[in-house]
């Protein structure tokens, strides 16, 4: 049931149920107003970077503050310490300019850009390194990271490896969900904006299905490690 006639019949049944005879466009002022004091982050004595850091840590996201020039070495040292041998990375400018993939390669890891990997091969990665979304890469209010599929990396890269490393520029942190949704709405209006999946990540993959016992690393990364440029 997907032809225009079926659609019309379906919509007509909804219209009837609403007690009307034709579809009515809601008046602009009938939309509930999102009152700032109750929906927004209205007060904090921390700046956004600090707030993000503390809330992300509360969500069990690892956060390391690092000077940009030391970022590559720090990421490589962390991954080497975790025994990671196979790494995939996005092709974001920030990773290239900080030479993060090179630093990992120098440590002897097998390093591939996401677009050199087949979907199947990405399942064999032991870690991935991505940037956060350029439009709004982190949310201070919720302590979340935002990733979005697109030209720099696909959807699987940040999902299937057990460790997800994010290099986050502080300028990308937005205050709250209202800001993030506005950024998304604007991005969606761009001709190139459509089609991709946006994911707000608020911690490592986990489940509590079995007797409420918390187990991390179910189907997504069990570790999310943010290197926040200082």
């Amino acid at each position: 049931m997907n032809g225009p006639a079926e659609t019309d019949a379906f919509i007509a049944s909804v219209t009837r149920a609403l007690g009307r005879t034709s579809v009515r466009k809601p008046a602009a002022d009938s939309l509930p107003v999102l009152d700032e004091p109750i929906v927004r982050l209205v007060y904090t004595d921390l700046h956004l970077g600090k707030l993000f850091e503390s809330r992300a840590r509360a969500n069990k996201i690892l956060v390391t503050l690092v000077r940009p020039e030391e970022c590559g070495a720090a990421v490589a040292a962390y991954l080497a310490g975790e025994g990671v041998a196979v790494v995939g990375h996005s092709v974001a400018a920030i990773l290239t300019s900080l030479a993060v993939p090179e630093a990992c390669a120098q440590r002897g890891m097998r390093v591939s850009a996401w677009n050199e990997l087949s979907l199947d091969a990405s399942y064999d990665l032991e870690a991935c390194i991505t940037e956060a979304w350029e439009g709004g890469g982190a949310v201070a209010e919720t302590g979340s990271i935002v990733v979005r599929g697109g030209p720099t990396h696909g959807r699987a890269l940040s999902l299937v490896p057990p460790i997800h490393v994010v290099v986050l520029e502080p300028r990308l942190i937005v205050a709250d969900l209202v800001d993030l949704m506005e950024r998304l709405r604007v991005a969606e209006q761009q001709p190139t904006g459509k089609g991709s999946a946006t994911v707000i990540i608020t911690g490592p993959s986990k489940t509590a299905d079995i007797e409420m016992n918390l187990v991390t690393g179910v189907h997504g990364p069990g570790v999310v490690h943010v290197f926040l440029l200082d």
Binding site: M1, N2, E6, T7, F10, I11, S13, V14, R16, A17, L18, R20, V23, R24, P26, S30, L31, P32, L34, D35, I38, V39, V42, N115, L119, Y123, G143, S144, G149, G150, G154, R155, A156, L177, V178, M181, E182, R185, T192, K194, G195, S196, A197, T198, V199, I200, I201, T202, G203, S205, K206, T207, A208, D209, I210, E211, M212, V215, V218, H219
Partner: protein, 504 residues
């Protein structure tokens, strides 16, 4: 569509053997088929005396409810935020036809195909046809209450599609041939020993009841399924009219898998999940995870829709969004419209003294607890579920917990009123209440009855307590005793004291 109704495989829920998941064959739980009457007493009575079940349910509900209260307290004004969330959902329902059209146009601009399904049968036929046309057969399915409602997985399984539930709890239910008993924690009725026995049998591995081991085992098994899948099925927590996108929340990552690997993606969503704007998510997301599990946000909030963009290497090439009515417009029509605001957070289950006592299966439907007691009779007919509106103490805890402020107790009372209006109450009830009405209208009759009642209770009383009464009061005294009425009533003492102003 050219596909005939008889393509739908015959449902044989009793004793079925799903291909590849053959264990165990006897269903653990079967909900009544549409149009058949549900025997609430037969389900609830054994559940109410099942201590193991109550321990498991208590453990989970108390934790989730404690988390909810803690997290709601972090919000600047949770009461007004809930009010606003209710208004947003109500607005979307009040203009649902308009927003459905807006959603369809926006989703199709992203290359998705939007299908409208009037019934569960329609939805299953549409989805089977999609799978056939696309030639896909290895399906990974994430948790979706709409798909449970129409028993989608079962039908696809019988049609020969290798379908696997990928949410850990739902996977356990699938291999155990069981049904969910909670909206958020589907295996709340199982303890870890039960899961351990099942896995040991299913995978042929040594028994271990360590939740970490059990989760690892499921992860390894499901990972191969993800990798080789060509067909993904998801639900959706919200539909965004202005952008034609879906929003889905989860903690495990299996929804993300479903929207990443398979070539064909089908999302089955009830029409009431509509939100006008992306920014409305800022309100609803703040409440959903808090109300459900006491998390500020779920681990993954996916906002997706449409086919993979140019330059993308993964994500679906073919996207179908199936919007399900299945009784929803009927509810939209009348005074119960507000019940469609529900975002399936299960906060009302966790606070409910009845749910905590009998668990989810005793409600005879995939929607248990207070909200289930309300919407199941609306979906499946009051005549088939006449006991559910009465399965409530009307204490109001559900209304207080609801993040979209559905007045559940009020609507349950209205359903009881509907039953009286439709003469659905038993003749015994009717005679008793008729007599009660006569007594209340006449002071003389009322006094006579209360005198007789006092006399009878004193006659039966021993050591100040009445331990046993005949039917219909027997059910009450089976589990508690009644104190013998005082020698003198308050009114008698009051009148005698000389302080009653009416007598002066």
């Amino acid at each position: 569509m050219g596909i005939a109704l008889d393509v739908l495989p015959e449902s044989n829920a009793a004793g079925r053997t799903p291909p590849g998941y053959g264990l165990p064959t006897e269903p653990k739980m079967v909900f009544p088929a549409d149009g058949t009457r549900f025997d609430f007493d037969a389900a609830a009575t054994p559940a109410a005396s099942n201590e193991r079940l109550q321990r498991a349910v208590d453990n989970a509900t108390v934790r989730q409810d404690t988390g909810r209260k803690l997290r709601m307290g972090e919000l600047p004004d949770s009461n007004r935020l809930r009010e606003l969330a209710g208004q947003i959902k109500q607005h979307a329902l009040d203009y649902l036809d308009y927003y459905l059209l807006e959603f369809k146009a926006a989703a199709e601009a992203r290359g998705a195909k939007v299908h409208f399904a009037s019934s569960g049968e329609d939805a299953k036929r549409i989805i089977l046809e999609i799978a056939k046309t696309a030639g896909v057969s290895r399906c990974i399915k994430s948790k979706s209450m709409a798909s449970e409602e129409i028993e989608l997985a079962h039908v696809l399984e019988l049609a020969g599609i290798d379908i696997v539930e990928t949410d850990l709890g739902e996977f356990i239910l699938q291999i155990n041939n069981d049904k969910p008993s909670h909206l958020v924690a589907p295996i709340i009725h199982m303890d870890k020993a039960a899961v351990a026995r099942l896995f040991s049998q299913y995978f042929g591995t040594p028994y271990s009841d360590d939740p970490v081991m059990l989760t690892r085992q499921a992860r390894a098994y499901l990972r191969d399924k993800f990798r080789s899948s060509d067909f993904g099925i998801t639900g959706g927590n919200f539909l965004i009219a202005e952008t034609g996108q879906l929003c889905s929340v989860e903690n495990e990552g299996n929804v993300r898998q479903s929207t990443t690997t398979p070539r064909v993606l089908v999302s089955l969503v009830g029409i009431e999940k509509m939100l006008p704007r992306l920014s409305d998510l800022a309100v609803l997301l703040k409440l959903l995870a808090r109300s459900a599990t006491g998390q500020p946000m779920t681990v993954y909030t996916s906002i997706f829709g449409g086919v993979r963009a140019a330059g993308e290497k993964d994500g679906p090439e073919e996207v179908h969004i199936v919007l399900l009515d299945n009784g929803r417009t009927r509810i939209l029509e009348g005074e119960y419209r507000e019940t469609l605001r529900c975002i399936r957070c299960a906060a009302c289950l966790n606070v409910c003294p009845i749910y905590r006592k009998i668990g989810g299966h005793a409600y005879g439907s995939v929607y248990p607890g207070p909200i289930g007691a309300l919407i199941t009779p609306l979906f499946k007919g009051l005549e088939n579920y006449p006991d559910l509106p009465k399965a409530s103490s009307l204490c109001g805890a559900c209304y207080e917990a609801c993040p979209v402020k559905i007045n559940i107790p009020k609507h349950l009372i209205n359903l009881r009123r509907d039953m009286v209006g439709r003469s659905m109450t038993g003749w015994g009830d009717r005679i008793v209440f008729k007599a009660w009405a006569v007594a209340l209208r006449s002071e003389g009759v009322y006094k006579l009855i209360s005198t007789l009642q006092k006399f009878e209770l004193r006659r039966r009383g021993k050591n100040g307590w009445v331990d046993k009464l005949p039917k219909p009061a027997a059910g009450w005294t089976n589990v508690r005793s009644l104190p013998v009425p005082a020698k003198k009533t308050f009114r008698e003492i009051w009148n005698k004291s000389g302080r009653n102003p009416e007598n002066q």
